[in-house]
Structure formats: structure tokens, C-alpha cells
Symmetry: C2
Subunit: 386 residues, 2 copies
Amino acid sequence: MNNSPIDPHSVGIVETQHFTCCVPPDELHLKSGLTLGPITIAYETYGTLNDDKSNAILICHTLTSDAHAAGYHAGDKKPGWWDGMIGPGKAFDTNKYFFISPNVLGSCKGSTGPASINPVTGKPYGLSFPFVTIEDMVAAQRKLLDHLGIKKLFSVAGGSMGGLQALIWAVHYPECVHSAVLVATNYRHTAQQIALHEVGRQAIMSDPDWLNGEYYGKTIPARGLSLARMIGHITYMSDKSMDEKFGRKLIGKEKLGYDFSHDFEVENYLKYRASSFVQRFDANSYLYISKALDYFDLSEDGDLVSKFKKTQAHFLVISFTSDWLYPAYQSKDLVRALKANDLDVSDCEINSSYGHDAFLTEVESQSKLVTHFLNRLHREKFHGHR
Amino acid sequence: MNNSPIDPHSVGIVETQHFTCCVPPDELHLKSGLTLGPITIAYETYGTLNDDKSNAILICHTLTSDAHAAGYHAGDKKPGWWDGMIGPGKAFDTNKYFFISPNVLGSCKGSTGPASINPVTGKPYGLSFPFVTIEDMVAAQRKLLDHLGIKKLFSVAGGSMGGLQALIWAVHYPECVHSAVLVATNYRHTAQQIALHEVGRQAIMSDPDWLNGEYYGKTIPARGLSLARMIGHITYMSDKSMDEKFGRKLIGKEKLGYDFSHDFEVENYLKYRASSFVQRFDANSYLYISKALDYFDLSEDGDLVSKFKKTQAHFLVISFTSDWLYPAYQSKDLVRALKANDLDVSDCEINSSYGHDAFLTEVESQSKLVTHFLNRLHREKFHGHR
């Protein structure tokens, strides 16, 4: 990894690496009771791990994202998905910390998922891939950290589904987590979140090309996946950000067409984003991961507060005013449960019109909060004072 | 129409009537420049028209609703869609007023629409049905009122798309409208509203059974229409009302299934509501009417305020705190434009967790506002004092 000659704040050219574990007879025991193995985890790293391996920060991604969080893949013009936050001198400072960014189990971006070849059959798993939960994704990440020799994370950070993974880290492996940065996230999926995902899943599963998940090597269920992505995009933005970006602007037309072709820019935008998405994401992975999200409920036995009784981690919880997919009140509920455990919690609701996407776009305001939070913990841990 | 013997506040058993006009060579001139005829309008009436025909109130419905606003069809157990608001002694008091409730042009509930037989071909119109706008729906309603001999409406009332029709009445036929009750509505469809509709349309049009709209007599595009309805239902409720109604309740299961069958009540609810909807609504009508909504923009030439300069109507504008499909700020923008014309405007944002559906469910709070508004105008008009 070299810093780009043009941008001293970029981690430069990066490569995705792969780690394989749980090779039978060793297997990963899943929350469902089933097992899975072998498992490959795609991941990237940025910065340098220090000698006592105490400066590692795990970066966790969203439903459809991947291991490529920062820097550039050779030949690419677009950097990783959280590049504004990760790099030399940035909020997640690669001059100080070593970052590990794994692709989640169940995805299609290098880690084992339903599109992977089942070594037993020699064919893609499809729906024979066992159901994986957020807890299972985190269990697989722990195998990767064991492999890297990292016993305790200085921090674990993520937005949206990444925040859920960070929460599971703090709750299930309290001895491994010094701090957690939870952005635009919650502690359980609500009825509205489940409903929005369910429409996407029904869109995929009602596409005749889906073939009960056995479409590999044939036509992909592009229509269904495209619809799921369109719904997703609407939920990632806000009423206001859509109005500011598109309003009622027409696409290269003098006037309305009075037919069912596209008239408005927002219609074309959704179509364009959806059609690029179906080329890069696997429909079955969308089913698996969206359902894993819907299954997520840290309060499933009725008690959220007690979940944190074993953790001593420090928390930064960030939400955004216009995020209606993971509304700020959900972060506030989480903060209350953390504080009820007398934990060190910093929380902030950032004023933004960008909706859920704000965790990707509001770099400046997030950076201030993350920098301050990590600097304070860094001083305390490495210099013994506040 | 007889009042039910059981409920003195019901209009009792009602029947839908039909009126046909614009029989060629007479035709309705549409906003698109095309023409349509003949046109049949399904409608119901409640109460008694007074001698000088001055007590008529027009009731306008939503995207997927119909002429059956109040009372019971013979044999039915469920009353019309706004029965809580319309009846003897109710907010829309059939002891005082005569109500006309037409089904919109383009629908499939008795009025002429894409599923109707094109008299020229002897086959259903399908996509050869001309595009109709909210303005065209109102123009057809005016033909019905002419037929009934009603020159001026005491009021025109509607929620959601019904509010848009009421607005067009006030703006295009100012001499015909004494007052308007606009509930959970706006003056132009926003990018988010367009986007949500566009996903529904794409769902229908990407259903292989849609056959470019030529599915009549064959398999209906149930999968696509079902998806459109599921999205619709989510937008009609609120995060809070979904949480209160469903939360994370499981359907007859002890625990999560760890597969892609339904786990949560909210998933079953959406499926149930969607599957009953596809039996009662035409997919092409969904395309036409949703697009008519998206085309609606009273400020399309950039100036909303001047649109109301010819009207002397009195306005009641009601919105709901948790309505995110037609948010309250849109009603407030409309109220500002009305007040800039020095018009008599009463406006109220009702506190409710029911989302957009509140205009159907919050009967008590709406009734107070509507009763007070109509009583005041009634005293002024019929007794010459406030």
C-alpha cells in the first residue's frame, strides 16, 4: 500500500486479500444450529499494525458494500466506500491505527456466500447456503482477527449494518473491544425496516429468472433485484435531499410525455443506479443479508440493558436528523441502554438533509466527532492520561 | 337510500349509479391534447339535494379508492371508505347536505379507464387509453355536476389524491366552489413521492404477465401489482404505527425460521393486503392514476400564489404529524399561498401516529374541525350571519 502521489491523505493503491478458515472437519457453528465451512473472508487493511498489536480498528460495512473501504484499486478512479473517513491524517488515521475491513459472510464480494461454490457439490450454494446472522458474520470476523494475531480491537466502527456488527462485537466479545463507533444504526430492526426489506425480497423472489435461487450461469433476476435496489435508494435518501437533488426536473424533455416513459430525473436516477447495481451484486446475497438485518434484535429476550453488562467499551453513537431508515430515536434508545450500564458514551445527532446516506456523505461533521473520540481514547490508552 | 335500522348515523344501504357523457362527436378534451369519449362516471349520492341545489358537497377519493364513500352496499358488512365522516349527524352531515362521490376517470371501479371496452375496437383500451390528469378527472366530474344541475358546490372535500382534485376544483372552476376541505394533501408531487410511485410502476411493467398492458382475459400481472401495493401500504403507515401494530411479532412460530419464509406478522400483513388488492384493482389503472398524481403540480409555471387569485373559496387544510407521504410541511406551504391571497383559511396539523392513513382513521379529531368549518359557512350562507 503506497500513498497516492497526488493525495497525501489517501492510503493509495490497495488490494483485497483473502483468508480461508473453518476448513472441515473444523466448521463455523451458526446461530441457526447449522454449520458452514470452509469459509473465505475477503478483507483489506490500511496502516501498520504496531508491535503489540494494540492499534487495530475493525471497519464494518453495510448490506451491499464490500471490503474496499479506502484507497484505490489499481486502475480505479473511485476510491473505497469510506475513503473520506479513512487515510493518513483523516478521522480514522492510518498514521496511528491499523484498519481491517472485511467483507461480510453471505456477501458476494469475495467472502463466502450463496454464489460461492459449495465444495461438496461443485456448484454454487444458492439457497442451500445456510442462513447467516449478524452474529455469524462477526464470528467469522473473529476468525480473521485470530489469524492476524489481534486479541483486542482499539475500536470497531461501522454505519448502518456496520453498526450492528460493531454492537455484536461489543456484546459477544467484550474482552476484545476497547471502543465502538456506531453510526446511523440501531439495536433491533423495526417493523418498517422489515417491511421495506420484505418488499425487496418479494421483488427478487417473484422474478421468474430467480428460479428459486438457481440462476447462476443463467439469466440473473435483474428485474427483481433492480426493484429491491430502487426501494433501497429511496430509503437511503430523504424527502429533502431528493427534492434538492431532483425536485421535479425533467429529463431532456421540454414537457411531460403523457405516457409511461420516464419524465423526471429522479425516475432515470433510480433506473440508472439499479441497473448498475444488478451487475455488481448477487440477488441471493441480497436475500440473505437483508434477512440477517431483519433478524437482528439485541433485545430479543426483552432486555437490552443487561446485554452490555460485560462490556467496558467506550462508545461513540452518531445519528442524523433526516435519516428515516435508521431514525435518530433508535440511536437514543441505544444510548440510554448503554448509559444505564454506566458506560462511557458520547452521542451526537448531526444536522443533515442527506438521510441515511449522511453517514457516507457528512464527512466533516462525523470526522470531528470520531477524531475527538479516538484521540481521547488514544491519549488515555497510550499515554495514560486524558 | 334508507338509514340502517341499527345505526341512526349511517346512510344505510346505498347503490352506485352511472352517468355517461361525452358521447362522440362530443368528447372530453384532455390536458395531453388527446380526446376521450364516451365517458362513464360511477358515483354515489347521500342525503337530499335542496330545492335551489345549493347544499351539494363533492367527495373526492384516493389512488385506489372508489365511489363508495359511505353506507353499505346490499349484503356488505364493511361500509364505504369515509363512512366515519359521512352520515346523519356526522361531520359531513347528510341531514344538511347532499353528497356526490364520483369514481375518478382512469379508475377501474365503474368509471371509464384502461380496463373499459374501447367502443371503436370492442376490446379493452389497455395502454391505448389516453393519459388522464387530475385536471381531466375534475373536468369529468364537472360533467356529472352539470347533469345533476348543480352549478355551485357548497364544498368539495378529499384526502390525499382527493385533496388534489379539490384544489383543482377551486383553481379551475372558482365560480363553482364555495369551500374546500383539503386533508393530507399537497400542491405538487415531490421527487420522493414520484420515486415511490415509479418503483410500483416498474414492478407492474416488469411483471411478464403485464404484456404491455394487454393482459385482459389472461393472467393478471399480480406479482407486480402486489409489490406496488406493498410499497403503498408502507408509505400509508408510519414507523410508529407499524411498530405499535406489528413490532417484531412472529407469525404462529415459536422462533425464527432461518429461511426465506415469513417470520414476522408485518410480512404476512403486507402479503395479505397485497393479495386482496390485486383481486379488486386493475394494474393499468394503477399505472395511469399514479402517473396522474406524479404529474400534479399546481406551481408548474413557477407561481403557486397567483393560482388562487380568482377563487373566493373558504379553505380548511388538515395534515397529520406522522404522515411522511404527504408531510405536514407541504400543507403549510399550501396554506401560505392561500393566505397570500387573503383567503379565509383554517389549518390544523393533527397529532397522530397513523401516518398518511390518519385521514381515514382519525375520525374524531377531523370531525371536530370539519363540523366547525362547515357549520360556520352554513350559518353565514343560509342565515346571513357568523
